[in-house]
Amino acid sequence: MSFFRPILAIARKDLLLLLRDRINFFFTFFFPMIIGLFFGVIFAGGGSLPTIRVGVVDLDGSPASRAMAADLAATDGLSVQLIDAGGAPPDPAAAAARVRRGELAAVITLPKGFGAGMKSMLRGRGLAIEGVIDPTRKAQAGLLAGKLNELAFRQLSRVFEDPAQSREMIEGARADLRADREVDPVTRAAVEVLFSAIDGLARTNARRAGAARAGGAGNGFRPVEVQLKEVAADDRGPPHSFAITFPQAAVWGLLGCCVAFAVSLVQERSRGTLIRLLTAPVGRTQVMLAKALACFATAVTVQLLMMAIMAARVSPQSWTLLAVAVLCGAAAFTGIMMLLAVISKTEGGSAGVGRGALLLLAMFGGGSIPLQFMPDWMQAASSVSPFKWAILAMEGAIWRGYGASEMLLPCGVLLGFGAAGFGLGARVFRRTATSV
């Protein structure tokens, strides 16, 4: 008889048993799906993750400050709440208290004179924007500061686009300059020339903007070219909450599958069916390979299923790399399954110890809280968890923009886990005597 026929028959039998075991089937397929959808929908606000709840206190009430608040509200990833004390002047301290209570991640205060400050930009008085942010949201503080800068410049560009406003701004600056006795004549002349140039530029720009508006193509003048690209690259976020929650769902599926097959291998021994297989005679190696095959197939299936659901909202940057990630994840957890199967002699023990240990590793590895929300030390410590690498590999292919070389690390680690688990598990399994 061929070496592979019994392997296929056992694997087929195990897949059938998995389908018929309601609990294992649930934990392998449905539970992950629920996790993915549930958290995916919860975090789906604004179409990106994470949504930062920001309160805006507008103490100025000028057109410029209102425009700034509206721009903030229109920003992806921010959920903006205008703090309005119902006629009475809004109170920044009260708003800050809401941050302390965790109701808001941050409060941005647009101070009195924000609009005027905008116009006196050229006179060296910058825009003053104050903010308080929840100290646990350090990662988001950077993102928010970047956004605020960007938006402030957008307000400024509006001023320049409006001929009346830009004239007013430049006239104001000239008046200041003339009034200032301490400026030496040479500087004064130079700055006058500069202002005239800006004025001319603003006029030209206003004409062009008018023409462009008529023609339908906007080409706003930007007083300062802000390079926010770096910030954007650091915070290259997932395109949709599903891009986070479905890789998580996939690792929960891996956990379910890993436990299910480990228990089935333990059962094979404890129930005595292993004796039947061994007398048939099927070798221990064949039995192990069959379990591994069934586990691997299930692990691939559950991951693909999760990725397929995710694909309804998110199209991965690279399907090829995603396929590689899925295969490596399946290999890792097939190996871990083998190890789990030899840790305990009893089904209960294996299921208990296995589920417990894996649950911890899964949570640590980003299965519950996305990795990027963990404190640095925890992110570093989570490297012991194979789940982290499985998530990283999937995310790398989906939205982190990993190239083949960047995939090497997570995939290599996963294959390492797989090989170590299988090697160790198989060694013990082969040596453990089986008796009637």
Partner: protein, 281 residues
């Protein structure tokens, strides 16, 4: 058919099998009778080559060494644990085992149908084994041992925990196997089963064979005397004798016998005589 010679096996400090020798003849039902922990299951594991003995040899006549795969294919085993898959149906269990032996699909279908008929599970063929009673599971466990029609069948406590009806059915099955020419090694701690079923019995305790023979031989050699109990006007008399009928005939002329009972020795008495203990304690 199966010869075990001076087998020894210890688990740490526990000596499970202690110099055990057996010769099971072709076509006989051979009983291994002993209390729990006597070493019956360990002996079976060694006989089928799953467990290497510390010393001693196992020979399967005409089949070779059971540690080699080729020899093992001719053995059927029904382990003491119910070695069936609860989430497979009766038929699926047998089909799966058949596939492990590489039996062709068509032949296998026919054989499984026959087997289900034989063990009385035809009308439950499509039901999951998990829904079966203890007796039905035992019957399926036995059927699974003989899917590949082995000439040597080892049954480890095949009636453990079953109702009397299933027990009768199982014993009948073993007789059927014998009628088909199978050699059966049958372990049990129920002396009635050994007495009813087995051509020869080995009484084992603490890993040693204490006595081997037909049931009658064992009783004659080690059972001790029968006990005749008669109740007369003057009270109850207990008489140990080799020939209770002759003894009774001798008492008849005296008359006045209100009641009488003859307790013939059985395998229980054999065990008691050999070990000073009861089989089940």
């Amino acid at each position: 058919m199966l010869v075990l010679t001076d087998i020894r096996k210890s688990f740490g400090a526990t000596v499970a099998v202690d110099g055990l020798s057996l010769r099971v003849g072709r076509g006989e039902v051979f009983g291994l009778l002993g209390p729990n922990g006597a070493g019956k299951s360990t002996t079976i594991s060694i006989a089928i080559g799953l467990l290497p003995p510390d010393s001693g040899t196992v020979t399967l006549e005409g089949l070779g060494d059971p540690r080699h795969a080729a020899a093992r294919r001719h053995i059927g085993v029904a382990p003491q644990a119910l070695a069936i898959y609860d989430d497979l149906s009766a038929a699926e269990n047998l089909l799966f085992i058949g596939r492990m032996y590489g039996i062709g699909h068509r032949a296998l279908r026919g054989r499984v149908a026959d087997l289900l008929e034989l063990v009385g599970l035809t009308d439950r063929a499509r039901d999951r084994a998990g829904t079966f009673s203890g007796g039905m599971k035992r019957r399926l466990n036995l059927a699974a041992a003989i899917v590949h029609e082995p000439p040597l069948v080892l049954l480890d406590e095949p009636t453990a925990g079953v109702d009397p009806q299933s027990r009768n059915n199982l014993l009948e099955l073993v007789r059927t196997l014998r009628a088909r020419g199978c050699t059966v090694l049958y372990t049990t701690h129920y002396m009635e089963e050994a007495q009813r079923l087995c051509d020869r019995v080995a009484i084992i305790d603490r890993g040693r064979v204490l006595a081997v023979g037909t049931v009658d031989e064992l009783i004659a050699r080690h059972g001790g005397r029968s006990v005749l109990t008669v109740t007369t006007d003057s009270g109850e008399r207990r008489i140990e004798t080799d020939d209770p009928l002759r003894e009774l005939a001798g008492l008849m002329p005296g008359g006045g016998i209100a009641n009488m009972r003859i307790d013939r020795p059985d395998l229980e008495s054999v065990f008691l005589h050999l070990t000073g203990r009861l089989l089940r304690d």
